[in-house]
């Protein structure tokens, strides 16, 4: 039993702080997939398998019910699991294996593994990702065959520690008000992470061996902001995190009084605070918090919601809803950023290296039919003249020019049809490849505005996949190379009097605000819930201080240097005004 205070570092998957007792889900005993039974036991194995299917069907019905109370995302994930579990072809194939003498468990393991392997080899990434569903379905079925008690018997103050967590488990845990999750594997886009964020449950993933290292009932702290897990925290650490939790709540309340204050530094520099929005309802939240517009609408969300490319009418209604809720404040809609780790429907075949593949503007120009429909919808939503269009993943001038031609074509078509739209719809470029950053001067000249996507820019500049736990430690958007690129982009935008906003994670990063202001950024776009915190920080600094800071950063040669310089900010700031 481990009694010392230990800290483990994983990947922050869902924000928040949880303090509770460990509920450890051990990895299941592996199934012997060679296991066979004597001929006289075959009938018994078959009925055991059928009984397991029946009990699972009842369980899935219950889970589907729970899922529907959550969100569409949650229920579509669970539905696809239910379909696998009730698949007649699968059941028949398992039954045939049992009839040939395999034990129920080994028959299930073999059949599911075979299907999983087939899916892994599929050309289509969405279908490949379904392999995970098979693994979860198999685990569940085998657990039922073994009469294992359901894994969701966690207590009310539990933090679940598991090799991996299935969506079903999460829904049950949700009912018992589980406080947090720690898993050994899983990417940031795994079902477990999506659900944890959706349910506002703090989670840290990618801690290898967590279920072995952490004993049942041990006191744990899950810091979903930083990805740190503390095992057996001592009184001082517990106190620190409790007050962090308390301050987070307290702080939020206190921030309310800031809403109507303008966002200016102590020496009068105005910074526009905008919101990143995934849903029309977020616009209200942003406006309530005093947001000055919508800096980023991630339109891919529509694709994930619909699991297909929505029609022009469907898109128009959604964009228009957002534009009208924000009116008269501006709204920047980013064209579908399909590809890479995101929605991959329509990508013609498997890509070995999707982050460097057909994504963003490349996909949109490859599938101009899809892009034209989206541009049409954005134009139709621009009737109040408060909409801007932003192009993702641009790296060449030709891409911008081609996109502009498509916008003009759509404008002509709408004009001919007598439909109203903004004839001067601003078209901006998202700078997120090192090539675009180096050519920022040219992009500033030929576009209406620039925006910096710091996550992708850092990923490409540092050649690091930030969802890969093996190299997540290398990924840091505050690397001096990334800062240098941001500096180049701002200078280029200034030369052409173009606005440049930052809408990646860096914009909301507590340590980076002063740096960005010092670099000359005047527009920051963050999640609506971060708006007031950001304003609080900005109204307490002066631009002169930020400039001085920036000058020191120019000398930095390592990420560590950058952090050392940024930490000096805490000396100017009141100690209580940051917690994350």
């Amino acid at each position: 039993m481990m009694v010392e205070t230990t800290m483990l570092k994983g990947i922050a998957a869902s924000p928040g702080i949880a303090i509770g007792r460990a509920f450890v889900l051990d990895a299941d005993q592996p199934v012997d997939d060679e296991e066979r039974v004597a001929p006289e036991r075959i009938a018994g194995e078959l009925s055991r398998f059928n009984a397991a299917l029946e009990s699972l069907a009842a369980e899935m019905k219950n889970i589907l019910e729970l899922a529907r109370r959550e969100s569409d995302t949650v229920s579509s994930i669970v539905e696809s699991q239910a379909m696998i579990m009730s698949d007649p072809m699968l059941a028949k194939a398992v039954a045939t294996r049992i009839a040939n003498g395999a034990s129920a468990e080994s028959a299930v393991a073999r059949e599911f593994d075979a299907n999983k392997a087939m899916l892994y080899n599929a050309r289509d990434a969405v279908i490949r990702s379904r392999a995970q569903d098979f693994e979860h379905a198999k685990e569940r079925l085998i657990a039922v065959l073994r009469n294992r008690t359901l894994s969701h018997a966690a207590g009310y103050d539990s933090i679940v520690v598991a090799p991996t967590v299935t969506p079903q488990d999460m829904l049950y845990f949700r009912q018992t008000q589980t406080l947090g999750f720690i898993t050994e594997i899983g990417g940031l886009n795994s079902h477990a992470c999506i659900l944890a964020r959706d349910m506002n449950i703090p989670a840290v993933i990618g801690i290898r061996g967590a279920a072995d290292v952490i004993d049942k009932d041990t006191i744990l702290i899950v810091d979903g902001y930083s990805g740190v897990v503390v095992i057996n925290p001592d009184e001082a650490t517990l106190e620190e995190y409790r007050s962090k939790q308390y301050r987070a709540a307290e702080y939020r309340q206190h921030l309310g009084t800031l809403i109507d204050k303008p966002t200016v530094t102590t020496d009068g520099v105005h910074v526009r605070l905008l919101a990143n929005v995934d849903d029309p309802s977020h616009v209200d939240e942003a406006m309530m918090a005093g947001g000055e517009g919508v800096g980023l609408v991630r339109s891919e969300i529509l694709l994930i919601q619909h699991s297909r490319y929505p029609s022009v009418d469907e898109q128009t209604a959604w964009y228009r809803d957002i534009a009208e809720r924000a009116y008269p404040k501006p709204v920047t809609i980013r064209a579908f950023d399909v590809g890479s780790d995101k929605f991959r429907q329509g990508i013609p075949h498997h890509e070995d290296n999707p982050a460097l593949g057909l994504r963003g503007i490349r996909f949109l120009l490859y599938r101009q039919d899809i892009f034209e429909e989206q541009v049409c919808a954005v134009l139709r939503a621009s009737v109040h003249r408060n909409v801007r269009l932003m192009l993702p993943m641009v790296s060449m001038l030709e891409e911008l020019e081609e996109a502009r031609r498509i916008v003009e074509k759509c404008q002509r078509n709408l004009g001919a049809a007598g439909i109203d739209f903004d004839p001067h719809l601003p078209v901006g470029v998202m700078i997120e490849t090192p090539a675009a950053a180096m050519m920022a001067d040219m992009f500033a000249k030929h576009s209406d505005f620039l925006s910096i996507g710091t996550n992708d820019l850092a990923q490409y500049a540092l050649a690091t996949d930030r969802t890969n736990d093996l190299v997540a430690g290398i990924f840091d958007a505050l690397h001096p190379a990334v800062i240098k690129l941001v500096r180049m982009i701002v200078e280029a935008a200034d030369r052409h009097q173009r606005t440049v906003s930052v809408c990646g994670e860096m914009a909301g990063h507590a340590a980076a605000t002063e740096m960005l202001i010092g670099l000359g950024i005047r527009e920051l776009s963050v999640a609506p819930r971060l708006l007031l915190e950001l304003k609080q920080r900005i109204i307490n600094v002066s631009y002169m201080q930020c400039r001085e800071l920036e000058q020191k950063l120019e000398e930095c040669t390592t990420t560590q240097d950058v952090y050392t310089v940024l930490n000096t900010i805490n000396e100017w700031r009141g100690k209580d005004d940051h917690y994350a």
């Binding site: 579509s76 539905e79 696809s80 379909m83 696998i84 698949d87 007649p88 072809m89 699968l90 299907n115 087939m118 899916l119 599929a122 050309r123 289509d124 969405v126 279908i127 379904r130 619909h306 699991s307 297909r308 490319y309 929505p310 029609s311 009418d313 469907e314 429907q345 329509g346 899809i370």
Partner: protein, 88 residues
């Protein structure tokens, strides 16, 4: 037994959601319903089967329906394909 051809007209192809719709509709009938592509035949009531067909927009599939309600089943399947699985 009814044998005919259907074409995938919706943009997404037989992707997750269309695949699920197809299985739901097929499962309402007693008839055996099979789809075939390049000599590879699958049970249309099986989500795994339908997903592994990996049928994209424009591809043509053989449809075989056999059973008491085959006429209605075949009509329902054809309708589903020609309507593009409700995509607009």
């Amino acid at each position: 037994m009814i044998e005919t051809k259907v074409r995938v007209t919706n943009r997404a192809g037989l992707h997750t959601r269309p695949a699920a719709m197809l299985v739901k509709v097929a499962s309402q009938f007693d008839s055996e319903i099979y789809l075939e592509r390049d000599g590879f035949q699958i049970n249309a009531k099986s989500i795994i089967g339908v997903m592994t067909l990996a049928a994209e927009q424009g591809c043509e599939l053989g449809l075989t329906v056999e059973g008491e309600d085959e006429a209605r089943a075949a009509a329902a399947m054809e309708e589903l394909f020609s309507s593009g699985f409700g995509e607009q």
